[in-house]
Structure formats: C-alpha cells, structure tokens
Symmetry: C2
Subunit: 316 residues, 2 copies
C-alpha cells in the first residue's frame, strides 16, 4: 500500500551546499542528478536562485545561482524523468532575476521566507506563477514564532494563489507532538492547498518527523542523500524511499552513490548528529553557534557551550 | 509536565560492550557510573551475568560476567543514587550462578530471551525473584516472530509473576506504526504489568520509537550514552533525558562525559548510523552481516550487499 499523491523532493545540492558554499564539481552534481532520476525521485532541487548583486561567484559555487547555463551543463543529454527545482530566499533575489518558464529548464521555484515577511514571499511566488512555474512557499523557523504570528501568516497564505506550503523545522527542535499539532493547524488554515515537510536532524528526528507528517496527510516530502544538509542535516533519502512502499522508488542507486561519493565526503565534511547541533536543537536555536563550534580546530567545552546557550535562550 | 512513573535505565556498558567484548577500563566504567548517577538516571545496567563455563575471561572483559568483586571495584565509596542491573541471557547462565540478593550489590536482573524460549526465561526470572531481585523479561527479536507465537509468549508471561516485560526492537526494523501496534498488544495481553522499551537505531528511529512508546504509556525506558550499542546503537540517553521534563534529570554530566570519553571512543569504534546497519534494519535482519561489513578493512560493495541480503530474506 502506498499513497500515490506523495511526491519526494531531494534537496541534497541545495541544502548540502550550505555546508560547502555549493563548491560541488559538475561531475558530482551530474552523478547526483542521475542517481536521483534512477531512484524515481520526483523533484531535484539543484540549488538557490540568488542575485549576483548580493553574492559573489568567487565565494559561492554555481548552485548558489543556478543559471540556465549551469544547469544545462549538468543535465545536457541525460534522460529527464524528474522535475527540477530551485529555491529563492526572500531578500536575496529580485523577481527580474527569474526568467520566464519558457526560457528555463527549471520546473519549480520554492520561495523561502520567515513568517514576518510572508507578504513578500507571496508576492514573489505570484510573480513566479505568472512566469509559468510550479511554486511553493517554505515558511522557515516556525518553531520560534508566536502562535498568533504564525496564524496570521497562514491566513495570508490561505488567501493567496500559492498551491503548496511547507512546514519547516529549521532548527530540528520539533518532536512528533509539534508535527501533529502544526500539520493539523496548517491543514485547517489552508484548505485546498497541498502541504510539505522539511525537517532537520538535530535530535535524530528528521526521518521520524517526516513519517509523522506523512501520517498527518502531508504529501510533499523533502529529503537529502545520506542526510547531507546544514548542521545536523536532513531526512535521509534512503530511509524515506525505503519507508514509502511506492514501487516506482528504488534505493539501490542511492546506496551506490552514497558509497561512491557521500561516505568519502562525510569523512571530510561533518554533517549529521553531533552534540553542538543536538544542543541547538533541544534549545530551539539557529544552528549557527553549533556550526561555529564544529568548525573550530578543537571542540569547545561542550558543558560550557550548553550553559552559555541555555542562559542566552529567552525562557518565555 | 512529566510522568513520574517513567524510569530510565542506561545500558551503555552492557549493550555497548557487545562492540568491544566489554573491554572497558575500570576508570571508564567508574566515570560512566558517576555521570549516570549525577544525571539522575534510575538504573545502570553494568553488564551481563554470564557463566564462566560458557565464556572466557581472556576474550571478554569483566562486564560480561559482573561478579560482585568487579562491581564493587567500580562503585566502592561512590554515592549511590541509582540502582544497578545486570542482564542474563537464557542459555548463557545457570540460576546457581546468581547469588541471593542479600549477597549482591545488584538490584535487578533482566532476563533476555526469545519468544520460543519464554518458558525458560520465566523460570529463571522466577528464581531471581525468589532470590530477592527486581526482575524483568526482555523478549528479543519480536519483529521476526509470527504473531501467533508472540501471542503465546505474551499469554505465558501474563500468567507469570514477572512484573515487567520489555518490547525489544532488536533489529531496528520497526516504524512508529509497529511500536503503537505492539505496545497496544502487550498492554492488553499483560494487564497489571509494567512495560519497557529497548530500541535500536538502524533507521535513525531509536529515539523517536522510544518517544512513541512513552506516548503509548510505556514507562521503563532503555537508553545509552551517545547511543553506544551494538551495530547502529540505541536510543541516545542525552536526547531522552532532554525530552523527559522530569526536573530530576540533568543532561550536563552526560554532555561532559560524551566529550571526555565517547567522542574519542567513537572515532575508533564505529557504532551509529551506517549503510550496512541501515540495510539490515530495513530488511528486518540480525545486524551480524552489517557488523561483518563494517569490520572489514574496506567496505564491501554496498549495492551488492543490499541485493544479497534482500535475496536471502524470506519474502513471505
């Protein structure tokens, strides 16, 4: 038994690129593209659409920008069983930087925004829809906003034309209870829209929270190969595909590419479960202090790190 | 809000010892003992009670045997806020190897057995109760038994005097759905008894399945420091204590000892999420083939490993 409405989006290059400034070789991205396509994944999110006004090509690899030339260099000649997506962060892109769909190989733009800037998000999303793209809004960091602020954002979204809204656990702070509570809230506030889930793994709950979201009826599911993503990373694609019983999915190409590319990469670039990320997760904090701790030559005193972060966390 | 009935048992030395044949230094075990005691953990499972008839002291460290002398060497002089437990595996110990409680520093014996040998398990458990110990039965590998066989074992347990029975996901194969199904089955079959949960992390679900078990009313909870345990390991104690809102728990001593002892140890001895364990988990297989793959000098071809194990797994 499976639910054919479920669509899986892999965002390994986009979210994983937050670790290495998108410095992936073309060969790496092409192999990921082919493996995802063979595995039956529905969407590959290949990176961010960002304006070169705001970010420098020297510091950031191609997948911070996702120009048509960049993408065509990867997919040229390959079979195309999958749709392609890019993410646009509010404040880091102008609508005019996004080509009409007729001139792009991208199928979907996912607009990421905070609750307080949801109107800007909706505006950009509408412009992308007008240009012919599939569009979603990913409302980030909702574990930190007051419920009234979230309700207002959901109300704005309910009146928009945006067809898909994601529940995002940016800090890996949610337990199943919060997923069930928020999935119900989003469903009730957004009748007629599809919902998505994007989880982080600070408390080893990215996969289980994703399963809980599926149980709650959420159909648009984010994952990354071997869980690669910022900080503690994301829901591992190989676990998700194995859980979903849809026979169109095949985890073997994912197992192969994990062995070829991701196990060697993880030995050099540590994402996944580490105590600094666990601590930011349990305290519902942005992972940046954890990333700083992990990047240091030697780990700081973790007891002290915990005390400092706990004491700086507003308790209200 | 917390549930005061919840009792946490740490089995780092017992289950973690399955990786290194219990070759822990006395200093290591003593530091674990002190950290657990400070953290407010209810029980420390310090190892197995095994007969020296069956196992050799040369190959196995002290915690495969847990003699009184071994344990007293560790706890001598330390504050005692915690109860001590040892596990007895059916077929690896005789009842006469277990001293009367009046002559032992152990408080509890947990009897581990398979469903097919539950009568032997009950018999040993009753003898341990007669000797004055707290006693539990841990029914292993229930994801592999036919439901009728499990029902029969639960029926036998319901007629026994054993007060606590554990739901054990030996292969890390269960999703939340199975935890809910089995917790309900155990509750209904075992009125008046306390239930426990022991999870493995092959699919990164040990912690979330433990939370699900708590939601289902299970009160006896197993965990290990930094998730150390056979194969993919267990529910990480630091995540569990942070989730439980009982103010008696303090994760700081656990964070400290992870930094001092467990991060360095994990660099040499890999437990946790690895693809060979993921594969045995999704296929509901004993982790031994995964452990063999991980112990090899270079990983075998993981695509082939997956195919071989899948083809050898009965599909009925």
């Amino acid at each position: 038994m499976f639910r054919p409405q479920i669509k899986v989006l892999d965002c390994t290059i986009r979210d994983g690129g937050l670790i290495n400034h998108w410095q992936f070789s073309d060969e790496f991205v092409r192999k990921v593209f082919i493996a995802l396509s063979r595995a039956g994944v529905d969407y590959m999110e290949i990176g961010y659409k960002s304006s070169e006004k705001y970010f420098c090509r020297k510091e950031n690899g191609a997948w911070k920008f996702c120009t048509e030339e960049d993408i065509k260099r990867i997919i040229g000649g390959a079979e195309m069983n999958m749709k392609l997506s890019a993410m646009a962060d509010i404040g880091r892109i102008e609508a005019e930087d996004i080509l009409p769909k007729s001139e792009s190989v991208l199928d979907m733009i996912r607009v990421a925004c905070y609750a307080k800037e949801v109107d800007k998000g909706i505006s950009l999303a509408h412009q992308c829809m007008d240009k012919g793209y599939e569009v979603t809004i990913n409302l980030m960091a909702v574990s930190k906003v007051l419920e009234s602020e979230l309700d207002e954002a959901l109300n704005d979204l309910s009146k928009s034309n945006v067809p898909v809204v994601y529940l995002v656990d940016s800090f890996g702070a949610m337990y199943s209870e919060q997923i069930h509570f928020l999935a119900k809230k989003y469903s009730e506030a957004l009748p007629g829209k599809d919902l998505g889930i994007h989880a982080h793994n600070n408390q080893q709950l990215a996969f289980s929270n994703t399963v809980d979201a599926i149980i709650c009826g959420i159909n648009r599911i984010d994952a990354t190969i071997y869980g690669m993503g910022r900080g503690a990373g994301n829901c591992p694609l190989e676990l998700l595909l194995s859980f979903l019983k849809n026979p169109k999915f095949d985890i073997r190409p994912i197992i192969e590419i994990i062995q070829e590319l991701f196990i060697p990469m993880k030995a050099k670039m540590e994402w996944g479960y580490h105590i600094p990320y666990m601590i930011t997760g349990i305290l519902n904090e942005h992972p940046r202090s954890g990333m700083k701790a992990m990047a240091a030559e030697t780990l700081p005193d973790l007891g002290q790190f915990y005390d400092d972060l706990k004491d700086n966390t507003p308790l209200d």
